[in-house]
């Protein structure tokens, strides 16, 4: 009752409305147009000629080996990023939360830098100086151990691995930051209790630490997942989707279809498919989050 009064008194809608109108205009409206285009044949530079074709574009997409390949590439890229960032992020966060580690804020400030670096520049830097086959850092290090590295970005069997690793390098700080914040909330006596009970380091991690930071792991996975899923800048500047179609993620394919092939109908179909996948992910996240919250409450 009291709560209700506060709600009515504060006039929440007055504050929400301007933002909501802007969102409808610049997000919801273009989304609607994208949905509409995905049901039409429409070409770049010739927007006045549109034909309604129903779900034909979607049917064409799902029988197009290039599209199906891009779905596979995107899923692999996303999975590799999510797992890589989580594992390394957890490891580094765990090390940083060590009781006797000093200058924690300083370490964290430096660890953050890959994340704030412009993705286009990350792509360029890694392409020119890290993955470069003859004198790049990676192959020089491999050479130091007597190994000959491949032509990372121009070899279709290694290009996806290299781009995914680069993107994971860029996103890992997010995981470190959130998981470190989570670890600092675990009271010391939890560790003490685990120790008294005779739990080893791995058992403590698995049975004590991970369950306690479950919500944070979920949050950070979803952020990294959605970010990797839509990644365009990095892939486009590193490989342009090649060699062949080995790194053509869905975003890059949508761009190629729309701009290079001028097939805006198909481009919107691909993009809208991506949106629908993400909407389902958002819905699932909210569901799981609620279950989690109720379980821990």
């Amino acid at each position: 009752m009291q709560n209700n009064l506060l709600n009515r008194y504060t006039r929440g809608w007055y504050f929400v409305l301007p933002g909501l109108i802007v969102m409808l205009l610049i997000v919801a409206f273009p989304l609607g147009i994208a949905a509409r285009f995905s049901l039409h044949d429409v070409f770049l530079y010739d927007f006045s000629n549109q034909w309604f074709v129903g779900l034909d574009n979607y049917a064409r997409a799902w029988t197009d080996p290039l599209f199906i390949n891009s779905v596979k590439v995107t899923l692999l890229f996303t999975l590799a990023n999510t797992l890589g960032c989580l594992i390394v992020g957890l490891l580094v966060a765990f090390l940083l939360s060590g009781k006797r580690i000093r200058f924690k804020a300083g370490w964290m400030a430096l660890f953050l830098l890959p994340f704030v670096m412009t993705p286009v520049i990350v792509g360029i830097t890694w392409r020119l100086f890290m993955w470069e086959p003859d004198f790049g850092v990676i192959n020089q290090l491999l050479g130091f151990f007597g190994l000959t590295g491949p032509y990372w970005l121009t070899d279709s069997s290694t290009a996806l691995f290299a781009t995914a690793l680069t993107n994971a390098w860029h996103l890992t700080p997010m995981a470190i930051l959130v998981l470190y914040a989570a670890l600092t909330t675990i009271p010391d006596d939890m560790y003490e209790a685990a120790k008294v009970d005779g739990a080893g380091a791995f058992q403590t991690l698995w049975h004590v630490v991970l369950p306690m930071i479950r919500a944070h792991i979920l949050f950070v996975s979803i952020i990294i997942m959605t970010s990797a899923f839509r990644e365009f800048d990095m892939v486009y500047t590193m490989t342009g989707g090649g060699p062949g179609r080995s790194t053509t993620v869905m975003s890059v394919l949508a761009y190629n279809r729309g701009i290079a092939n001028q097939d805006m109908g198909m481009a919107n179909t691909i993009a809208f498919t991506m949106f629908m996948i993400m909407a389902v992910v958002a819905w699932l996240y909210i569901k799981v989050y609620k279950v989690n919250k109720e379980a821990s409450a």
Binding site: L6, Y9, Y14, F37, V92, L112, I121, T125, I222, A267
Partner: protein, 280 residues
């Protein structure tokens, strides 16, 4: 004694791990910087660049002049600053108001905002391209700004909702009892509490806007291009050819402001990025 040795060995191991990750984190940007200050960066190992044996500032003057740096710089700054101002003005009240709505409506709106937050950017870039042609906004900074806002607004609302949730209810109720009106309740009671959040928001949006590339590629035409497009065009152009040093100088000029900014405002970035973590 044995225990102490063990503890020290553990500490050394922890520092070793952290240092290893620090090297991995910093090596690429450091090599980029080193290459920018070296001549003939192309023919030498990046690790050898770190010695700065062929020190030069020439790469920067090529980047500034041949690379039309200030033209792109101007577009980047104008769009980023406008993005920050508009998103803060629109999103902060919205995030505040959302917390005051009935739970059902609030839940529905939160889901919509979350779905927008996860939106693949390409799904907006394609239709906006057409809409801007219709509105005469194609190739304009205003158009590009709208596209940026479409990404920043859901992010900003999502982030700020978390901060407003931390404002103690008792504080607001006490203010109402004292006869505080709805506007004053927002402006003088709640807003000061979320101050650190505001700084974090402004910084993160500036960085996001500065780093943006996809929209610029689709929508910037030739007049509104920001630095991210500037460097890719410069790399494709004849002036740069395969001169890695010049490209590195250009790239450093783009990335250095963000890095310096991030180091100075580090505390706020940490606050902002962990904001959404505890809530749904």
């Amino acid at each position: 004694m044995n225990d102490r040795n063990k503890a020290n060995a553990k500490l050394a191991g922890q520092y070793f791990g952290l240092t290893l990750w620090l090297i991995i984190s910093l090596l690429p940007p450091v090599i980029l910087l080193a290459a920018a200050f070296n001549e003939t960066a192309m023919f030498r190992s990046p690790l050898a660049l770190l010695t700065l044996r062929d020190f030069t500032l020439n790469n920067f003057s090529v980047a500034f002049n041949a690379g039309d740096f200030w033209f792109y710089f101007r577009n980047s700054v104008i769009i980023a600053v406008a993005s920050v101002i508009i998103s803060v003005a629109v999103c902060v009240p919205m995030a505040y108001g959302l917390n005051k709505l009935r739970p059902k409506i609030r839940g529905a709106l939160s889901f919509a905002i979350l779905a927008m937050r996860f939106l693949p950017h390409v799904v907006l870039a394609l239709p906006l391209f057409l809409i801007f042609v219709d509105l005469g906004l194609s190739g304009s900074r205003t158009g590009l700004l709208f596209a940026h806002l479409a990404i920043h607004i859901p992010f900003a609302v999502w982030m700020m909702v978390g901060f407003f949730e931390n404002v103690p209810k008792e504080m607001e109720e006490a203010a109402i009892v004292d006869g505080c009106g709805p506007w004053k309740l927002f402006w003088s009671i709640s807003l000061p509490v979320v101050r650190p959040g505001l700084n974090a928001l402004a910084i993160l949006i500036f960085i996001m806007s500065w780093n943006e590339y996809l929209f610029a590629l689709f929508l910037a035409g030739s007049d509104a291009q920001p630095l991210t497009v500037g460097i890719t065009r410069f790399m494709g152009g004849v002036e740069a050819g395969a001169q890695y040093g010049v490209i590195a100088a250009y790239a450093s000029l783009i990335v250095l402001p963000v890095i310096i900014f991030a180091l100075l405002a580090n505390r706020y970035i940490v606050t902002g990025m962990t904001a959404g973590a505890v809530k749904g």
